[in-house]
Symmetry: C2
Subunit: 261 residues, 2 copies
Amino acid sequence: MKKSQHHLSFIGAGNVAWHLVQKFETAGHTVHEIYSRNIAKAKALANQLSLVEPVDRLNFQESKARIFFIAVSDDAIDEVVSKLTLPPDALLVHTSGSQPMSSLIQEGTTRVGVFYPLQTFSKGKPIDFSHIPICVEAAHPKDLDLLQQLAGSISQDVRVMNSEERVVLHVAAVFACNFTNYLLGIAEKILAEHQIGLDVLQPLITETLQKALEIGPQKAQTGPAARGDMATIQRHLEFLKNHEDYATIYDLFSRHIAENT
Amino acid sequence: MKKSQHHLSFIGAGNVAWHLVQKFETAGHTVHEIYSRNIAKAKALANQLSLVEPVDRLNFQESKARIFFIAVSDDAIDEVVSKLTLPPDALLVHTSGSQPMSSLIQEGTTRVGVFYPLQTFSKGKPIDFSHIPICVEAAHPKDLDLLQQLAGSISQDVRVMNSEERVVLHVAAVFACNFTNYLLGIAEKILAEHQIGLDVLQPLITETLQKALEIGPQKAQTGPAARGDMATIQRHLEFLKNHEDYATIYDLFSRHIAENT
């Protein structure tokens, strides 16, 4: 694939922008402006880079950028779009997993797309982009090519997905990540009541995850419910009798696992 | 700590025995016998080792071993204990996370203990023991010393835990591992219905887990419910309307997370 240098600007200076902007610069692209309502945030990110101008106005008519990234929280996208002025013929994309591409369309814009890196970002924690799936979508085939090329310059895993498929991905991620994290929180609290740290479970959690990804979660399912070990389930529910919330989840999962194993 | 060579025998030739026996030999201990009801299984494991005798009788009166490991499924422990004949003054331990130490006590045995490696084992998949927590318990202080020393010869993470604390650990592990795996299974099925493989979520799952273990699951909680993003929750529940099971879990978790974040 031929390596092209692209001219970009970012609207938003949060976690996603923080990582993407720096990665794009490293990959040889030029970021011209970073917008934040809070100019201090835009400056903080621009300071990490070479030639970027921090701005707090949404008029980009004079910008040299040709691709504009909206990387703000989902509920701020509409407002940003309504206030935005772009150069003629610019491509506008957002980086959200849950918003449809159509949320970018307004009078005068026809070149729209999505550039969604499927990862959770924290400021200050470096991320290896090369294996992060980047899901791209565009209203025009030429822009899809462009976004695939741009994504391919920072990751080996570029996938074309429409807005409906992104919802599928997002729902699956809520189960596999947000809810999984909540279960780890329950485990942490149960252990903490007996002065045991969550770290005791680290090797087991890591191995469980590896096994699930290697042989598939269905084959990897173990535990009292998978064995039909009713005596242990009863003992655990008895143990949880002062934690109604946890007991509800324990009971629900045990029944589902028993039915599906 | 002084390195002693111990003389061991194993009752059971399943996954736990498979890994422990080989690790003990590597660490310089001698395994004298491996028992299985199915002599072929005992032979298969004994073949991996140097001087081990495969047996299918539970009379160990003539054995040179001094520590006997019961590594059979939980519901077979009682039967094994009732049929077992040990040399005088032998130490009998089991490797179960969910059975109390007292399940080993019968007329004539007073030296009992537990040696529980907190990990999930699959035959043929090598395991690095050095960071696996090994939870030990014994009826007599001298035997506790002995088991700590033995555990310390294969792992850096040896913890003294009584039978009640092991139940805490087991319940926490069910939430953090068995239930987590079940959630990954739901994610896999949702994706599969749209011809997407679970591998798309691998970087996100790995990062979620790392973050939970680094900063704690409570701080690491993200997602629509943590943000109070009711519009997305409603869209996801609508998406799940043909999967009542998943919708129940989605709704329950979202409410719990919203209340606790």
